[in-house]
C-alpha cells in the first residue's frame, strides 16, 4: 500500500508514538505572531523554562494589530520583540518590515516541501501549498513547539480533491475553495488533510494554491496540501539555488513529497471546474455559499481586499484590472491591505496603488487588519462587508456586522456598484 504525502512527512519526522494514534513529530518551523505567542512566552517564563529549541527554526512577526493601537497591543508587541531579541531569533519582522504571517513567511522562503510547520494561528494550513504539513495549533502546542521543537498529531487521514477542466474568466481560486467548502461542509474535513490535485492545480500559481490551502480549515481540515512541482521550485529558487545544481535537480528531490498512486484516502472527490461561477457566502458559516449571480444586488457598506487569503500581488492585480479608471460607489467605503511590504512595493511600482487610490480606496499598511475586527476597518451594527477574507462568522468584523466572502475580482466589482456584483459586468 502506498502512502500519502502527509504520511510520508509523518514518517520522516516521527519522534515516537507514546500512545496509540498519537504521533509526536519533529518540527522544521515554528511560526509566531503577537496575539497567540505572548501568553506562551509568559507561561514559559513563569515556569522557569524561558528557552527556545532552535532560534533559526523559529520565525516571528507582528501582524494582527500593527501599528499597535493601544497599551495592551503595545505590550503584546513588546513581549514578542523582547523575546526574539533575548533568544537571538533573527527572523523577527517588526513594524515597517512586517506583513501578514501567511504571506510574509512563504515570501521569505521559510517553507519547503516535506517540512512540518506549526503556528498559533488556524490559517497555518496555507503553507501546505508548498507540499508541507502545516497545522494551526493553540498556544500550549506552540509553547511546547518553541521549547522542544515537537508537536503531537493523530494519524493524517486524507481527503483527495481532483480538479479537472479550466477556470473561466471571472472565476478564481477563491471561488473554487468556497465551492469546495460548500461541498465538504464546515466539518467535512475535521481531523483530515485535504490534498488538492489535478490539472487545475498543475497550472495554478503558488499564490492561488495558497488561497486554496488557506481555507482548508474552514472545512475543518488540519492542512491543505498541493504536491510540489516546477511552479514550487520556481517560487523558491532564489532561496534554494545554492542547494541544487539545477531546478530539475530540486524538482527530483522535492518529488519525494508526492502521494503514491496507490495511497489510501478517506474519500476522493472529483470536479470539473469549467462551469464554476464566481461564488460568495451568505449567513454566518463559510459553507453557506451561493453563486454571485444568486446574491447579485445585495447591498454592502464596506469592501475589504487583503488578508492571508487574498492580499497577495496576484489578488491586487486582478482587483486593479477591474478598478482601473473607475470610482467606488458613494454608498461604500473600501479598504485594501497589501499583505507584505514587498507586495506593497510591487503594487506601487506597477501603478496598482494609484488605481486603488483613484478609485477611492483607503490603502493601509500590511496587516491582518479588518479581517477579524480587532484593529482597523471594524463594521458597525447592521453593516455588511464584501470581503476577500476567510471567515463570515457572527461578529467577525465587528459586533452585529455581516461578512460576505468573495474573490478580489468580485470585491472590486462590488465596490464600484455598492452591491454584490459579478466582475464580468466591468470586464470588456
Amino acid at each position: 500500500m502506498g502512502k500519502t504525502i502527509a504520511e510520508k512527512i509523518f514518517d520522516a519526522h516521527r519522534v515516537n508514538m507514546p500512545f496509540p494514534n498519537t504521533h509526536v513529530l519533529k518540527l522544521d518551523r515554528v511560526f509566531c505572531h503577537e496575539i497567540t505567542t505572548p501568553i506562551a512566552i509568559t507561561d514559559l517564563m513563569a515556569r522557569g523554562m524561558d528557552r527556545v529549541f532552535d532560534p533559526t527554526k523559529i520565525k516571528a512577526v507582528i501582524d494582527h494589530v500593527t501599528p499597535a493601537k493601544d497599551s495592551k497591543t503595545a505590550e503584546q508587541g513588546k513581549i514578542l520583540r523582547d523575546w526574539a531579541k533575548r533568544h537571538d531569533i533573527k527572523d523577527f519582522f517588526d513594524i515597517g518590515r512586517n506583513g501578514v504571517c501567511h504571506a510574509i513567511f512563504p515570501e521569505k522562503g521559510f517553507v519547503r516541501p516535506g517540512y512540518t510547520v506549526i503556528m498559533g494561528d488556524s490559517h497555518t494550513c496555507t503553507h501546505g501549498a508548498f507540499g508541507a504539513f502545516a497545522a494551526g495549533v493553540g498556544t500550549t502546542d506552540l509553547e511546547v513547539g518553541i521549547l522542544k521543537g515537537v508537536c503531537a498529531f493523530h494519524f493524517p487521514k486524507t481527503i483527495k480533491i481532483v480538479l479537472n477542466g479550466n477556470l473561466q474568466p471571472g472565476a478564481y481560486a477563491k471561488d473554487l475553495i468556497l465551492f469546495i467548502i460548500k461541498e465538504l461542509t464546515v466539518n467535512g474535513a475535521t481531523n483530515m488533510v485535504i490534498e488538492f490535485t489535478g490539472p487545475v492545480i498543475d497550472t495554478m500559481s503558488m499564490e492561488s494554491r495558497m488561497t486554496l490551502c488557506n481555507m482548508a480549515i474552514e472545512a475543518g481540515g488540519t492542512c491543505g496540501i498541493c504536491y510540489p512541482d516546477m511552479t514550487t521550485v520556481e517560487y523558491l529558487w532564489e532561496f534554494i539555488k545554492d542547494e541544487f545544481n539545477s531546478k530539475e535537480d530540486a524538482l527530483i528531490e522535492y518529488s519525494k513529497w508526492i502521494s503514491d498512486a496507490d495511497a489510501s484516502y478517506e474519500k476522493v472527490y472529483e470536479y470539473d471546474v469549467t462551469t464554476l461561477e464566481p461564488m460568495v457566502t451568505f449567513g454566518y458559516k463559510p459553507d453557506q455559499v451561493k453563486t454571485v449571480n444568486e446574491m447579485s444586488g445585495t447591498k454592502i457598506d464596506q469592501v475589504y481586499i487583503g488578508s492571508c487569503t487574498n492580499g497577495r500581488i496576484e489578488d491586487l492585480r486582478i482587483a486593479a484590472s477591474i478598478l482601473k479608471d473607475k470610482k467606488i460607489s458613494d454608498d461604500v467605503r473600501a479598504i485594501v491591505s497589501p499583505a507584505t511590504p514587498a507586495i506593497f512595493s510591487m503594487a506601487l511600482k506597477e501603478g496598482i496603488i494609484e488605481i486603488f487610490q483613484n478609485a477611492g480606496f483607503c490603502v493601509t499598511n500590511p496587516t491582518c487588519g479588518a479581517c477579524l475586527g480587532m484593529s482597523n476597518g471594524v463594521l458597525a451594527n447592521g453593516e455588511a462587508c464584501a470581503s476577500t477574507t476567510n471567515r463570515n462568522f457572527n461578529g467577525r468584523m465587528g459586533k452585529g456586522g455581516t461578512v460576505h466572502l468573495m474573490s478580489p475580482a468580485t470585491a472590486a466589482a462590488s465596490a464600484i456598484s455598492g452591491k454584490i456584483t459579478n466582475s464580468k459586468v466591468y470586464k470588456a
Partner: protein, 173 residues
C-alpha cells in the same frame, strides 16, 4: 487535576465557533483571568442569556464545537469561568487538542447519546460528574440520575491527569 463536576449549560446548536466563544477584540488581553466577563459574548443562539453561564461547570452542546480560529483563549475563557468540561457530538481538531493541552475534558458522544441528553435533561437543573477512572459521565437532575459511558484516548487522559501538555512534554521530550 482540575475539577470535572457541576451544573450543566446546554447549548443546542452545532458549529459554535471560537469567535463566538471569545471575540477577537479580547485577544489583546495577556492574562487568562481578564477573559472572564466575555465568554460566549457573541454566541448566536435563540433564548441564550449571558447570565446562563453563572455557576455552570459543564457545557453540553452539538457538533463541531470550537470551529474556526485556533485561539486557546476559548478554553481559557471557559476555564476562568469554572467550566472544565465540554461534551459534544464532535469538536474542531484544534479546539479539542487545546482543551486536553490545558488538562480539560472535550468528550465526544455518539449522536444518539447526545440526543438523549438533550431530550431528557435540557431545560432542567442538571449536573454532571466525570468519573475519569471508569470512563463514565454521571448525569443527575431532580427526577433522574444515570451513568453514560464515554471513550477517552490514553493520550487525552494522560494530559488531563498531568494537568496539560507542557508538563508532560517537558518530562518526555
Amino acid at each position: 487535576m482540575k475539577k470535572f463536576n457541576g451544573n450543566v449549560l446546554f447549548l443546542d446548536r452545532s458549529d459554535i465557533n471560537t469567535d463566538e466563544i471569545i471575540p477577537a477584540k479580547y485577544l489583546t488581553e495577556i492574562t487568562k483571568e481578564a477573559l472572564k466577563p466575555y465568554l460566549l459574548e457573541d454566541l448566536s443562539l435563540t433564548g441564550f442569556d449571558i447570565e446562563d453561564i453563572k455557576d455552570k461547570a459543564v457545557i453540553v452542546t452539538r457538533a463541531n464545537f470550537g470551529c474556526g480560529s485556533s485561539r486557546e483563549h476559548a478554553p481559557w475563557a471557559l476555564e476562568v469561568n469554572g467550566i472544565n468540561v465540554v461534551i459534544a457530538e464532535s469538536f474542531a481538531r484544534i479546539f479539542r487538542q487545546n482543551m486536553y493541552n490545558c488538562g480539560m475534558f472535550a468528550i465526544e458522544l455518539p449522536s444518539d447519546k447526545m440526543e438523549y441528553l438533550f431530550e431528557n435533561y435540557a431545560g432542567k437543573d442538571t449536573s454532571i460528574t466525570i468519573d475519569i477512572d471508569n470512563d463514565k459521565i454521571i448525569v443527575t437532575s431532580s427526577d433522574q440520575s444515570e451513568e453514560i459511558d464515554f471513550k477517552a484516548g490514553e493520550f487525552d487522559k494522560t494530559l488531563v491527569k498531568e494537568g496539560g501538555w507542557v508538563g508532560y512534554a517537558d518530562k518526555n521530550y
